[in-house]
Point group: C2
Chain length 152, copies 2
């Protein structure tokens, strides 16, 4: 871990409170819009976006779960819901009998199109409108470095 002083000093505490505030409140803020525009929660939206960016709209469940920052179990439950709504479909991977592939359907793309414009507008209004280009890149770099530690 670390060999530094045990508690956070004032500047660290200020930073931590702001960071944890964003972490706790951002998902809820995003979900209001997603629920209203496309009846999706944020994780479901991530799943659809992940598939949309994939080759052939298709991705392995494990890879998709990692990309969406969720557990495989979580994805499995969500995939069942999305499949029952006809937004994705699942089928066995021809190369590896253990794997399952998920593919975005046309209905899924359509649902995504309902959600995406409002989502991007909201993300802009909450984050990118507040930061100039330099700040935005710095923020991204910091987040990337912290994320690397969390994933390890």
């Amino acid at each position: 871990m670390s060999d530094e002083a045990p508690w956070l000093d004032e500047a660290e505490m200020t930073t931590w409170l702001a960071l944890i505030g964003v972490v706790m409140r951002l998902p809820g803020a995003l979900e209001v819009q997603l629920r209203r525009d496309a009846d999706l929660n944020h994780f479901e939206y991530c799943v659809l976006v992940g598939l949309e960016h994939a080759e052939g709209g298709t991705m392995r469940m494990s890879d998709l779960a990692f990309l969406c920052n969720g557990s495989l179990s979580r994805l499995s439950h969500v995939a069942r819901r999305l499949e029952s709504e006809g937004l994705i479909e699942r089928f066995a991977c021809p190369d590896d009998g253990r794997s399952t592939l998920a593919r975005l359907t046309d209905d899924g793309r359509e649902r995504l199109a309902q959600a995406a414009p409002g989502h991007v507008l909201l993300v802009r209004s909450l984050v990118f409108d507040e930061l100039d280009d330099t700040e935005m890149r710095q923020m991204g770099e910091f987040a990337k470095r912290v994320l690397a530690r969390i994933q390890a």
Copy 2:
């Protein structure tokens, strides 16, 4: 909202993916330690910490919910659990008959003491060890500005 271009450019997307990665994975990373050391989830921990920093270890439910970045309903359910474990107690507010005050008990303080050292160490190892002092303050400032937008 915003009148800018509808989609995120590459730099914005990189930033967004890193940010959302932290947002989605940080709570889980913190909860492993809290569960192990003190059998608490992150929101319960925030509640106890919030009370510890308050005058007399006492705070109004509404204020506590805001401080902990959660809904009042969520806090109410959690408070019932914490009270049944003897970590907090609730009583009517003498000044306003609608309000309920929550107070940290000695057992609550003890439980917090089990969790806190490991928590701080983990927070350091995930976030503050990665950033120098200038970067840490910048990150805090960015987060504070974004948080202000989310809260509005």
